[in-house]
């Protein structure tokens, strides 16, 4: 009874939260924004070095955000592998004996790799880019992992860690290099903007994929010592 009442109260609270929020959104929508950022953006696109505005925002105008964002991802990866159980990599039970998966894997893996490459390349002029590519790459890795491909580099060792931070490191180096070059941080030299961004995007893709994959792999699973886990 009390629980029901509490639920109802909670529901009411959340509904009213939504309501107020919506009302507020509605009110705000009725007024014009004082600053026209898109216009400002388009005026500066030329200086950004990339064609697509989103990529420009991500990797140039607000590249510090992106740097930190990758940092967040790396943190998650680190925290994940700090929990890792080395043994789970060799765990045979992880391998799926599903033939469908095995069959798909042979077709899908090259396809997905290609897709990742495309996404990365397309990021310069269309929505897409490092993150998307990295996600696809990670998915490929998951597929391979499930299919039993031994990926030794995922063992928590120097290689994994190197992979984790590669993109981040390159990003960082570029930032610092720009300082050494005499500019402000993350201010790419105009003539190098495009290749730099491409390099960054590529290593980022790799790192993002590594992080995601590492997180997938390091989640501790199937410990035979734990009967409860086994029974569920």
């Amino acid at each position: 009874m009390i629980r029901t009442l509490k639920t109802l109260a909670m529901v009411a609270a959340c509904v009213s939260f939504s309501g107020i929020l919506a009302l507020s959104i509605w009110t705000i929508a009725g007024q014009p924004a004082p600053v026209n950022l898109p216009q400002l953006l388009s005026e500066n696109m030329a200086r950004s070095g990339v064609e697509h505005p989103v990529t420009a925002v991500l990797l140039n105008f607000r590249s510090y955000d992106t740097l930190l964002e990758i940092g967040v991802l790396v943190i998650a990866g680190i925290a994940g592998i700090s929990m890792a159980k080395t043994a789970s990599l060799e765990d045979p039970e992880l391998r799926t004996s599903d033939s469908l998966l095995y069959g798909l894997q042979r077709w899908f893996v090259p396809l997905m790799l290609m897709l990742a490459g495309y996404l990365l390349w397309a990021g310069a002029h269309r929505p897409g880019g490092a993150f998307q590519a990295g996600a696809v790459l990670a998915a490929t890795g998951v597929l391979m992992r499930l299919g039993g491909v031994p990926m030794d580099f995922l063992r928590p060792g120097l290689l994994l860690r190197l992979g984790l931070v590669l993109g981040f490191t390159v990003f960082l180096l570029v930032a610092v290099a720009s300082v050494i070059g005499g500019d402000a941080f993350l201010a790419y030299p105009p003539e190098l903007t495009k290749p730099l961004i491409l390099i960054i995007e590529s290593v980022l893709t790799l790192s993002i994929a590594m992080v995601l994959l590492a997180l997938f792999v390091s989640a501790p699973v199937n410990d035979a010592e734990d009967p409860e886990e086994g029974s569920s």
Partner: protein, 489 residues
């Protein structure tokens, strides 16, 4: 020069993080200690630069706001940068000795530590709402990672609780940011303020502020949203607890305070200000009360954080629609409270860690007789306690004094009672620890002696917390410096 300093603040910590990730614990320690020296020097350099020339806005990548991310480098920010350098380096040195290098997962301590530091710097200097969000997340996740390090069930439980609270807080904040951006079309705080200066307040903007402040309050563990804090701070390794209590919660509060000071007057209202103040008061009383009733040493300290954080939120009522001088006093008081609490709480946690190391137990009862063996750490603990109790000449006292003045000056005398009661209650729980340690018991005569370097660090911090009161005028004067040039909004 400034460029190098900024780079040193924002990027070198990340570089240290990368380096330490690639090495093992022992080498990580070497790197870290070297890095700490660099960071302290850089922070000090920026602080000196600002205290000499005044603050400035700094557009990252050469992009000014609103297009790019603009950093706000003012006296307050650099003071906190310096504070972070001090506290974090103390924790870093302490951790290097305190943490067991043989546990394989401890190698991840250093990268997380450095990410945390860089996140803090980002927050102190941030002038962009979304960038602050990312900075907060950086801090939150690395903090969660640090708490969970080692991965015992209880630690995981605490860190999960912490993570969920932090995420919810971040989302609420982000929602507020979304509304602000929707309304004003800019993410720069300075830009919003600039626009509000000569325009009427648009309808519907109060919610954004409310959401942001609520989210940040949750991340700061304001009563009644504090339940996640004590387990997380209590269970982490002592240097981690110190970092969390001293700096991490301050980061979210710092943003909330900045928002309130810039936007509170136009967007807030009196009832909200009083409500926040009331919640802060409740935190002071309730947190202290709970601290008094904990049986685990670090839980006491953790609940004490809840209480001390409560004071910070008195900023809201004390700066809302009051005279300039009162607001000034309140701001100064809160700033001092942040600094002194950071120093004192770090000292306290580190000292508590030493005590636990030597008694082998986290229980308050286990301290019986320890005063005979570990007077130095105990003394550090006590000195830190002096600041928490806001007794003179500590920084806590100077803060309390200013807050008292502000309360009396604004006619809001009810906060006076909170301030005084809080001081007494904190005395109660600090002395409870002391009482236990002074109890003579011939049975327990065996204590492990931690190394001298472990004992010195909390003492230094505690002495700084105490000494802060004596030099608070100087500290505060740096924050009051005028801007070199007005930033372009």
């Amino acid at each position: 020069m400034t460029l190098w300093l900024m780079a040193g603040l924002l990027f070198t910590p990340l570089a240290w993080a990368v380096l330490t990730l690639l090495t093992d614990f022992a080498w990580g320690r070497v790197v870290t200690w070297g890095g700490i020296v660099v960071q302290v020097l850089v922070s000090l350099g920026l602080w000196l630069a600002v205290s000499r020339d005044g603050g400035f806005y700094y557009g990252l990548g050469g992009w000014e706001a609103p297009l790019g991310i603009e950093l706000r480098v003012d006296g307050l920010a650099v003071t906190f940068v310096l504070l972070t350098a001090v506290v974090a380096s103390a924790c870093g040195f302490h951790a290097g000795v305190y943490i067991d290098p043989d546990k394989p997962w401890h190698r991840y301590f250093w990268p997380l530590f450095w990410f945390l530091w860089s996140g803090l710097n980002a927050v102190w200097l941030g002038g962009d709402l979304f960038n602050l969000y990312v900075g907060l997340e950086l801090i939150s996740l690395s903090a969660v990672g640090l708490v969970a390090l080692g991965g015992k069930a209880a630690a995981l439980r605490a860190s999960l609780r912490y993570l969920l609270a932090a995420l919810l807080g971040s989302l609420a904040y982000l929602l507020g940011v979304a509304l602000i951006y929707g309304q004003f079309g800019t993410l720069s705080i300075a830009g919003v303020v600039f626009w509000l200066e000569d325009h009427p307040v648009p309808a519907g903007s109060g919610l954004a502020l409310a959401l942001m402040v609520t989210g940040l309050a949750l991340k700061t563990a304001l009563f009644p949203l504090h339940r996640w804090l004590p387990p997380a701070h209590g269970i982490a390794q002592s240097p981690v607890s110190a970092l969390l209590s001293a700096l991490v919660v301050k980061a979210s509060f710092y943003i909330a305070a900045r928002l309130w000071l810039e936007l509170g007057e136009p967007l807030g209202n009196l009832a909200a200000a009083q409500l926040v103040g009331l919640l802060g008061s409740a935190a002071v009383v309730w947190g202290s009360w709970l601290a008094l009733r904990q049986s685990a040493l670090k839980q006491v300290v953790a609940y004490s954080s809840v209480a001390q954080i409560g004071y910070l939120f008195l900023l809201f009522p004390l700066t809302y629609s009051v005279s300039e001088s009162v607001s000034q006093q309140a701001q100064q008081g809160i700033t001092l409270q942040v600094i002194s609490h950071a120093l004192a709480k770090a000292a306290m946690f580190l000292a508590a860690g030493n005590l636990i190391l030597s008694t082998g137990s986290n229980r308050v009862d286990a301290l019986t007789g320890v005063s005979r063996f570990l007077p130095f750490s105990l003394f550090s603990f006590g000195l830190a306690g002096v600041s928490l109790m806001s007794l003179p000449p500590s920084g806590g006292f100077a803060a309390k004094w200013l807050l008292l003045q502000a309360s009396l000056g604004s006619g809001q005398w009810w906060w006076v009672l909170v301030l005084l009661t809080g001081g007494l209650l904190s005395a109660a729980y600090v002395f409870r620890i002391y009482r236990a340690s002074f109890l003579e018991n011939s049975e327990t005569d065996e204590f492990y002696h931690p190394s001298r370097s472990l004992e010195v660090i909390p003492m230094v911090l505690a002495l700084m917390a105490i000494g802060l009161g004596m030099v608070s005028e100087e500290v505060l004067s740096v924050m009051a410096l005028p801007f070199e040039e007005e930033g372009s909004p």
